[in-house]
Every structure is written in C-alpha cells, then in structure tokens.
Symmetry: C2
Subunit: 159 residues, 2 copies
C-alpha cells in the first residue's frame, strides 16, 4: 500500500535524504571568480587589490594563469606589521607557494572542499584545472560560499 501522492515512500528518513542531497553539491555550483595578482606586484598593491575586490584571498599567477601562490589576509597582515616598506616587497616573498597550496577542482564535492577549509584553517581555496604546465586557476571557493550554501539549504532554494 503506497500513499497516493506524487512521490514514492523510499523508507528513508529525512536526514538520510538530506545527506544525499547535500553530498551531491559540487564546488562549481557555488564558486566565485578568482582574484589574481602577478608575483612581482608589491605587498602594498596586493592589499589594495584585496580591498578593491573585497576578497579575503588572492591567488598569485604567472602570465599563463598558472597558480604560483596564495595570499591570505593573514599573510598580508603579518607582512604589514613587520617594519618594512610594503611598496618595495613583492608578493612572491610572502606568499604561500606551490606545492604547499591546498586546491580543489570544479567537480569536487562542496563538502570535501568545506572539509579542506576546516582542516587547513584557511578562508578560501583556488579552484584549478590541470594543464600540461601546472595548475590553471579557474575559480575560488570560500567560507562565504559555504555560508551561502547553508542559507540556501535552509530556504530549500537549491534545485
């Protein structure tokens, strides 16, 4: 005897269905555009870029958009309290550089990316594409995107 409504009774509880739904979300669906700088840009200019673009993480790339490094607000804040001339220090001196960068790919599960943010205690990850010469930066996924995903889930807006 199946209830006469437009869907099946699956024998699953709501939380099982929740898990399945959430487990399918991909990084791609929640990503933001990446904000990048070149490695010879000064720390001062990188900070200005961070404010102008209103982001918490910048990616340092070469002229082929290949990932060279990452700059967090923390990295820039640390540099700015050293008594140095921020205009004369290029970002490649202070950035976190490859291969010490945690990345993700657009088809990765959102939850796996969220777990990386928690485990590594960072605010954002570069989304990369594997190319012959290295990793091309194609996007950015951050704790802001995760917060938005949570809100959308709560409103049941995700299709």
């Amino acid at each position: 005897a199946r209830p006469r409504v437009g869907y099946f009774f699956t024998g699953k509880t709501g939380s099982e269905l929740l898990t399945e739904k959430l487990k399918k979300f991909k990084v791609q669906e929640y990503q933001s555009i990446p904000i990048v700088v070149e490695e010879d840009v000064s720390v001062y200019d990188a900070i200005c870029t961070m404010f102008l673009e209103d982001v918490g993480t910048l990616f340092v790339v070469d002229n082929k958009s290949l990932l060279l490094g990452v700059l967090s607000r923390k990295d820039l804040l640390r540099a700015s309290i050293g008594n140095q001339d921020l205009n004369s220090i290029p970002v490649h001196i202070i950035m976190t550089r490859m291969p010490n960068i945690t990345v993700c790919r657009k088809d990765d599960l959102l939850l796996d990316a969220a777990q990386k943010l928690i485990d590594k205690q960072i605010d954002g990850l570069p989304i990369v594409k594997d190319v012959d010469e290295g990793l091309e930066v194609t996007g950015r996924i951050t704790k802001t995107n995760m917060t938005k995903a949570l809100v959308e889930l709560g409103r049941d807006e995700h299709l």
Copy 2:
C-alpha cells in the same frame, strides 16, 4: 496502510524535512568563545592577539564585558597600511563601534545569523546577552562555524 517501519510517513519530501531540521539549529550549538581586547589596547597588540588566538574578529569590551566595538582583519589591515605607528594608535580609533554593530543572541537561529554574515559582508558576529548597562559579549559565531555546520549536516552528525 502505513509502512511497517519505526517511523511515520509524514507526506513530506526529503527537502522539506531538511529545511525543518536545519531551521531548528541555534547559534548556541555552533558558537565559539569570544576573543576580546580593551579599547585602549594598541592596534599592534590587537593584531598580535588576532594571530595568537588565530581568529578573524576581535571584540572590544569595557571592564564589565560590555560590547564597545568590533575589529575585523580588514579593519586592522586598513590601519596597518596607513603610515602610522601601530603601537601608538588605540583600537577605539579604528574599531567599528556601537550602535553600528550587527549582533546576535544565543537562542537565535543559526540560519538567521548566517544570513546576517552574508548581508553585512562580515566574517563574524558577537553573541550578546542583554543586560541593564548594554550588551554583554558571551560568544562568537563566524563563517568558520557555518562551514563546520555544513560539513556536519553532510555527515549527518547533528543530533
């Protein structure tokens, strides 16, 4: 004819159940402890506190733990690129001050706090308790807490 399993068929879809579950989460269940400084602390010392405690938001309080202001990494970064002596500027000069602070309370819904973080484009909110003299700071809720909530939902660990 009700299926012979240990729960009722409610006629609700999985996403309705999801919404109900998530909508019940309270700020209190996901909060972190607040990291506070007094208003006469220097910007330099506040930045050091931020690094030592590894947080993105500091709350400025008086000697009764009443909320006076908020300091974000962005606020401190902005101050640090001005050509000023960070040791001689007290944080009350640069902080966002009451009543321009978005707050929440421990019994607020997690989703409402998440929405405030998105709307105000900030990383964290003070959790406050209303007392006669003002707002006492009792906790902190951030995009990191929201990211952890999302991961726990995905693993169905929330009871």
